[in-house]
Amino acid sequence: MADERDDARETRASLPLSIPSGDQTVWADASPLIAAACNDLQDGELVHGENFSLFAAMSALEIMDPKMDAGIESNGYRSVDEAIENGTAPLPLSSDSTVDVQCVIDIMDHLLACEATWHKGHSLAQTVFSCIYLLKIERTSAHVLLHSYCRIIRATCNAVISTVSDARTHEEEDLFTMAYGLPLKGEGDDKCLSILNSVEETISRQLRACKALNYKKKVLEDIDPLQANPDLEDGYCRALLCRIRFRKHFYHVLMCMRKSQGRGLELARKHIALCLSELSSIAKSQEFLRSNVCVSHQDDVEEGTTASGCQPVGFDASLNSRYSAPTPPRAIQILSWKRAIEYFEKLLHDLDIICSFSLEPMLEDVLHFVVQFQESQPDLVARAHLQLLLVQDGKLYGRDFFYDVISKAIALPSFARDPEFQKNEFVVQLIQLVVNLLKILCTNAAWQRRKLGKILQDWSLFSIQLELALKREFGDMLKALVDENVCLKVSKHLLTWAEEQTYWIAARFLMLGFKLELYSPNEYCMVYWYLYIILMRLLDKMQVRLSNRGDSRKKGKKKRDVSKDLTRDMIVSSPSCLLLKCYLSLSEGLAMMLAALHNESKVFEMPNVFNNEQERFIQHFELLQKAHVPDQISYFLFKESTKHALIPIIIKHNYFREAQRVSTSLKGSFSSDPQRMQELRQIEQVAEHNKIALNVINKVGTRDPSLIVSFEFTHHPVFAVAVVKRS
């Protein structure tokens, strides 16, 4: 019996005291029973309760599996405190004040690299919060320089997270806002700017004092130098100043951009310009910083995360890896310091584009702007800012009611703007569709395409319902009344406009496929053909809308004598219609050219290994077909309309010549818009190259076995150029 008691005591000692057993119960050693009972079990037999499910059991985290168990013993420290006690993040960083400043600059640089890496889609815990000083920010309060920098970094991270999570553009990049267990919020961060300002003030006085000393002038104010070595004082003061000022202005940029109704955009632009100039000073400081390092610790200076090339003090990503998720995070590579600066330059340029947007109230211009903005592939943070600017408090720029925006786009007569009509269920639904569309257009290309494909259904459903309602409510009335009912008229305009947007979305969906490289060359033919069909419908709806607008204008001015032909001309020659015509000719030309090549020489024949052409047609256009965009389009229609295509016929049709002609005529109307002029030039080049290629193919003859035709996107991201070679 005494033995047993000893055993029990021994067991108790090996157990952690902080884990109590229940009331009236004890921790009893079960190992002997388990060993004995397992012996009695058959192979494959399990002891489990009734709620056991093997499927659920399969998702259990396996302890001690390096890929699943984040808590597994890494040879590092077990906690931040232990790491600090062992001197991994000393304060001050060195007893030598010069070395101390050097080390602080390295930390600043590495944090910049971490921040850029975070923006690029890695977790906060593995990047910015791998900094031990940041994890225990209160510790640094005696070291004002480091403390102020850590505070502004934390405040900036908070601002960025709130922007991204408000915009919800991060759905596809959800690592971004994960911050479990990290000390992200702290008291006094609202004062971070004033602390930073006073540090900046001190250093600039130190710089002034050092200059005065250099010119052998009497020092006006009595101030301690930044560090001990007078020869390096100037360089270090400057290196610190540009880094601190960059943080200050960047924080201001983020704050200004969040002001409601775009009120801070002008000021934000000023701060962006200052940020960019400080960034270039940071880049220039590298020469000085590197010249003062005796040994280069980072092997590859170009890949280093600091300007000096030294390894920064006080970073350990393994310390908080347990917080981010139950499973260990994947190893990541922090961007180099050079790449980080490049990233921030791009981010600031992207933000500048947003800030310089004129906040047009015309939806067509807004859509054009967003699409144009996406061309430069902006990163998450910039896209989130754009989205928050566009949709604020359910209003465009937080300023214009979407009902007004839509009625302006449709050119609704002013008497349709009464509040009763705004409560109409169709109007409410349409507003929701437009808001969603704007938000989706701000997401990254891959996610955007997926979502666009899905909302097509909503848009087409909306059109169908509106059409049905129109028939139901106004069917009888039409016969009775000669004069059109206002409500009917407005609903008809709504319908046309909604259909036009649906085709616009479908066209964007198809075009994004080229940018994401989703189509293989032997599928180009069907994609261009489908695009051609969509663009034709889009043009059709656009012309109807413009003629509606023409009608209402005519009536407004009461000039009944204006001939209908004149209005017609005006519509046909409107720049947006003409630009659409260019795209139309290009896609038709490319579809037919590809079909002819296929028909005549069997190049671009679909290999039949995994799926045939019809299956691919369905795979690519399933979402469009489901949404009936457009109706009655099938693979057979595609085959039917392309099977007679031959090179000589296509040359006769001169699709590319037509595209060139129209784009030339457009130059006058777009002369003030450099981006659109660039687009016209691209269209012309695509048309020109394809025209020549067609002639060469015709001359050589498609049956010539040495003829090699390939398609490249060298001149336009969507419209390919045929490249003809002879082997």
């Binding site: 952690p16 004890v26 079990l41 192979d43 037999e45 077990r78």
Partner: protein
């Protein structure tokens, strides 16, 4: 994992469950060993398992296979914040976990005094 390759472990190779091999896996409810019956009674008790690297896992006893691999439900991980054993402990919720027998160094169940006595009687 190497330790388990010798004999088939139902928990670590769950795909075996889907094979048509007779007797691939089944509940031990029909096993007539008194020891197995006693182990069965411990299901749903709180269980505290220590592993080789000094961590402890506290969770609800959910399942065990012949090789001694244990599944705990609603498990919490306890680990020392410093290398010394007396340092304060840090905890983290993990949910459903599988603890392979190879790394299990101790195993205790939360039970009444009477249950403990019957467990102790086994050791003799």
């Amino acid at each position: 994992m190497e330790g388990f390759s010798e004999s088939t472990s139902a928990l670590q190779n769950p795909q075996d469950f889907h094979s048509d091999r007779p007797g691939a896996s089944h509940s031990a409810a029909n096993n007539n060993s008194p020891l197995v019956a006693q182990l069965q009674k411990l299901l749903f008790h709180r269980m505290l398992i220590g592993v080789n690297d000094g961590r402890f896992f506290l969770g609800v006893f959910h399942c065990i296979d012949k090789q001694g691999n244990i599944i705990l439900q609603d498990a919490v991980e306890y680990r020392n914040t410093r290398r010394s054993a007396t340092s304060p402990m840090d905890q983290r919720c993990l949910g459903l976990i599988l603890i392979p027998a190879s790394c299990r160094s101790s195993c205790h169940v939360d039970c009444s005094i009477e249950e403990q006595l019957s467990l102790l009687s086994l050791q003799k």
